[in-house]
Every structure is written in C-alpha cells, then in structure tokens.
C-alpha cells in the first residue's frame, strides 16, 4: 500500500547552518539483482554530533540504506562521508570513517577472542602494536567490557556480543556510527545498558530501530522510511505526536 505524505517539508534539515558535514546522501536509488527496488531516491543529511533514528516497517529499505553508507552496496546517487564521496578508490578510507554495526552481532564477530575481534580493524589498518592495544583498551572501556578481553566471543550473551560488536568499530575511531537495530533481541537490563551506552558515546550516530521508546528517549531527530523513500524527517517529539503519520507507516506511538 503506497503511502505518501507530501505535507511534510522533507528537505529542511533540523539543524540549520549545516549542510550534512558528516553524512550527505543525495537522491540514492538502488535495486537488488531480482529487480526489487529497495531505495527510491533517498536524501539525508547528518551533522556533526547529531544522533538520528531511522524508523519504518520491515522492508522499508533501512538496512539497504545502511549498507550504502560504507559502500558495501552501491546504488545510483551520491553518498558523502565527511565531504568524501563514496567511490571505489576511497572505500578503504570510508570504511575507517563509518563504523557499521550489523543487526546480528554474530555476523560482526568472526575472531575467536574478543581482543582479536576488536583489534581486527586497527590491525588491518597497519597501526603499530602499541597503538592497537591502546585502541582496543579504549574501545572496550567505552562499552564497559574491559574485563572481557580474553573471552571467547562465541560464548557471550547477546547483550555482551552487541557491546563487543560496537567496540569492534569504535576501535577504528569512526566519524559516524551506524547501527542496525541495536536493541533488537535484548532483555530489559541489556537494553537499558545499551541505551546508556549510546547516550554517552560522544559520536555522530545513525541507528535504525523498531524500539520507539528508545528512539523517543535517545534521539532528538527521527527519520521515517517506507517503501524505499524517506517519508518524514524531523524532531522526534513532533513526529511521535502525529499518530496518523506513524500508523500510515506501520508504526505505533509508544
């Protein structure tokens, strides 16, 4: 059921005076090899320090959009990270700037121990060992998991894996953190821990979520996606009050 909301001014960024200095997506189109059109002209700007939530029903194109932000998928249109346009030759640089955390932490963690997983990014960059250790310690400290250095990733709980997955990209000191449904599948305590963690991380953030309570609590700006388009972009507090809008796009006011 196609739903459009022409009444909302989509082009006006929330923060004035910023032209998407961290993330700038312009008219992005993408279709999967089976010709399913996943993105139909997405434009989105993020400014330094902004924390933005991307919401919308399953299949709206949220994950597809996120996979474009570090060039794993490449569609037609423009994606800029901190002024650097995503192109094949600067993908390695882009990947250091965008910390992409997949929805399932199992997809993210591929090394035997927590330490090796968090160290993968910095090691791959070719940093000297002292700096790698320093970065791993720093990243684990940020997610409050310093005691888990030598643990086996495979044997952690989902909540613990989630934090480690975030640490694996923090160790690369990214400019923007992109998280795909971070609170999915967490128990209330792990969820609360995650919310506190995301609040305290001093970094630009774009997360997708179905957890509207968390969105309301944490993210001042909310972007609603449906059927491959951005249908609303504005202050969370305002959009959350528009029950008709939420309902039209398969969401429920929390």
């Amino acid at each position: 059921m196609p739903v459009t909301h022409p009444s909302l001014p989509l082009t006006t960024p929330l923060l004035q005076g910023c032209d998407g200095d961290v993330l700038k997506v312009a008219d992005l189109h993408f279709h999967y090899p089976d010709h399913h059109e996943a993105l139909r002209g997405v434009s989105l700007n993020l400014c330094e320090g902004e924390k933005v939530a991307l919401v919308g029903p399953n299949g709206a194109g949220k994950s597809t959009l996120m996979l474009h932000l570090n060039g794993i998928l490449t569609g037609e249109g423009e994606v800029n990270i901190a002024g650097l346009r995503i192109e094949p030759e600067n993908l390695p640089t882009i990947r250091a700037m965008v910390g992409l955390v997949f929805q399932s932490p199992d997809d993210q963690l591929f090394s035997p121990t927590v330490f090796e997983d968090v160290a993968f990014g910095p090691l791959y960059m070719g940093l000297p060992e002292d700096e790698v250790r320093e970065r791993v310690d720093e990243a684990l400290e940020m997610v409050l998991m310093s005691d888990y250095r030598e643990r086996l990733s495979h044997h952690l709980s989902v909540g613990e894996k989630k934090r480690i997955a975030i640490a694996t990209v923090l160790s690369m000191r990214p400019q923007i953190l992109v998280l795909d449904e971070p609170s999915a599948g967490l128990d209330p305590r792990a969820r609360r821990g995650l919310i506190n963690l995301l609040r305290d991380l001093p970094i630009t953030m774009l997360i997708s979520s179905h957890d509207l309570l968390m969105v309301r609590e944490l993210f001042p700006r909310m972007v609603i996606m449906d059927e491959g388009r951005i249908v609303a972009d504005g202050p969370t507090a305002e959009l959350m009050e528009d029950e008709a809008l939420l309902e039209a796009h398969g969401l429920e006011k929390p």
Partner: protein, 263 residues
C-alpha cells in the same frame, strides 16, 4: 541479500517444465548414457544428438541456445581429455619437442579427443537443461520414485538446503570483514600475508561452528514440522498421455542415435 547463485531453476511456463520429473530424469540419464556409449567419430550421431538437445531447448521456452550458453562452465573439465590427442595408436600428424619430452599428436588421438569433448559437452547441456526446468524438490521426488536409495536422496536434499545457508553465512562474514578493512593515511593496510591468512582461518572455523549450530536449528525446525526424511512437493506426479508420448519419443530418438552411431 541471499546468495541464490546455485539455484539454476528457471521459472517458466513450458512443455518441458510441465513434463513429469521422472520422465525428465530418466531421459536425461539415458541421453548421457547413450552419449557415453556412442563410438568415437560418429559425427552424424553427435549431430542428431545435438539436434535433439536443441529441440528440447526449444520446448523449454528458455531459448534454443540456453543450454549452450550455460555449458561453458564445464569446458575446463573436458581438458582432462587433452592427453587423448597423443594416443600411441594412429598416424602421427606432427612432432612437438617440449624439453626432454616429445609429444606426437595422431589422427586417431585427435578424433578421440574431439569425440570425448563433444559427447561430454552434449551430456553437460542435457543436465543443465534438466536442472533449469525441474524444481529441486521435484527432482528429488523423481529420484525417490525411481527407487534411488533414500540415504542418497536425503543427503543430496540436505546438501542443497544447507548450501544456501552456508553461502549466506559466508556472505555475511565477508561483509563484516570488508566493513572493517580500512586504511588510514601513513600506514600500509592489510599487515602481512600470515596475519590475513590467520584471520581467514579463524573465519573458516567460525563458519563451521555457526553453520553446524544453524543446521541443528534448521533440522529441529524441520522435525518440529513433521519432517520424516522425505521431501514433499505440491506438484502431483501423475504420468499423463503427453508424458508417455515424450518418454517413448525420447527412447526412439536414443535408439536411432545408437543405430546411426554404430552402422
């Protein structure tokens, strides 16, 4: 996002798609057998076999050259027959000296090589056409009807099921690694070969662990829904008049092939 590179079934509405899978499986197997039995240098028979194949392609509505276009993937395997060119029987055509070894291609050897190449090419195309026009569960079902041991059909059907699971898992692991394989100015990325090899080794280990656990979960889910070791399919397998006609017609062609090839 899923890897479906292995699924070669092509949805289409055609005579060949509708044909009973048993007829298709038997005809394909016999066609391959017939090719294997044809003598060397039976060019007329090869030509007729190829025409039959083209006709089957036409029936599949996938295009006359469908199986031909897809067949090149198997060509490297035919290279195993290259040694046949240098058969000690027959008249030498030339003499190539490669260091201490002297290679002598013969006319007999060349004919043999050409025949092997053509016959395997024809057989591969038949198999490609079978896979493209028959749903996998239907094919397994046909094998069961033809009294292929259940252990074999079960192993094949599981292999097929898990191939997708495995390749999806690989895709996700590679994506995760790719996302964190970055460079910063002033440093050479990628460390060294030994380290990258170790990471890859770890990933293979992870892959095994995960697919093992996942396959367990899938199997449990299958059991929970009443799986008893047999693939079910909604397609009813009833031999219609058309199926019998096709079956008899193929047998006649195969017999004709053998007659032409031998006399």
């Amino acid at each position: 996002m899923h890897a479906d590179a292995f699924d070669r079934f092509h949805e289409a509405e055609s005579r060949l798609h509708r044909l009973d899978p048993r007829v298709k499986v038997v005809a394909t197997v016999l066609f391959i057998l017939s090719n294997a039995l044809l003598p060397d240098g039976a060019w007329a028979a090869y030509g007729l076999a190829w025409s039959a194949l083209l006709w089957a392609n036409q029936l599949s509505s996938l295009g006359v050259d469908y199986s031909f276009r897809r067949s090149f993937i198997a060509l490297p395997f035919a290279l195993a027959a290259v040694s046949a060119i240098f058969s000690p029987v027959g008249h030498p055509l030339a003499e190539w000296a490669l260091g201490p070894i002297t290679l002598i291609p013969t006319d007999y050897g060349l004919i043999k090589f050409g025949s092997i190449l053509l016959r395997s090419w024809l057989s591969v195309q038949a198999a490609i056409l079978l896979v493209a026009t028959t749903r996998f569960p239907d094919m397994i079902h046909a094998f069961e009807h033809l009294h292929v041991p259940a252990v074999l059909t079960t192993v094949v059907s599981f292999l097929y099921r898990y191939l997708f699971v495995l390749s999806d898992e690989v895709l996700r692991l590679l994506r995760a690694r790719q996302s964190r394989s970055a460079t910063v100015t002033g440093y050479r990325p990628g460390r060294n070969v030994a380290w990258r090899a170790r990471v890859t080794g770890n990933m293979v280990g992870q892959l095994f662990l995960r697919s093992y656990e996942r396959s367990d979960r899938i199997y449990n889910a299958m059991l929970a829904r009443g799986y008893t070791g047999q693939m079910r399919t909604l397609t009813p397998h009833v031999m219609l008049a058309g199926d019998w006609v096709f079956a008899v017609f193929s047998m006649v062609i195969l017999l004709l092939l053998q007659l032409i090839g031998r006399f």
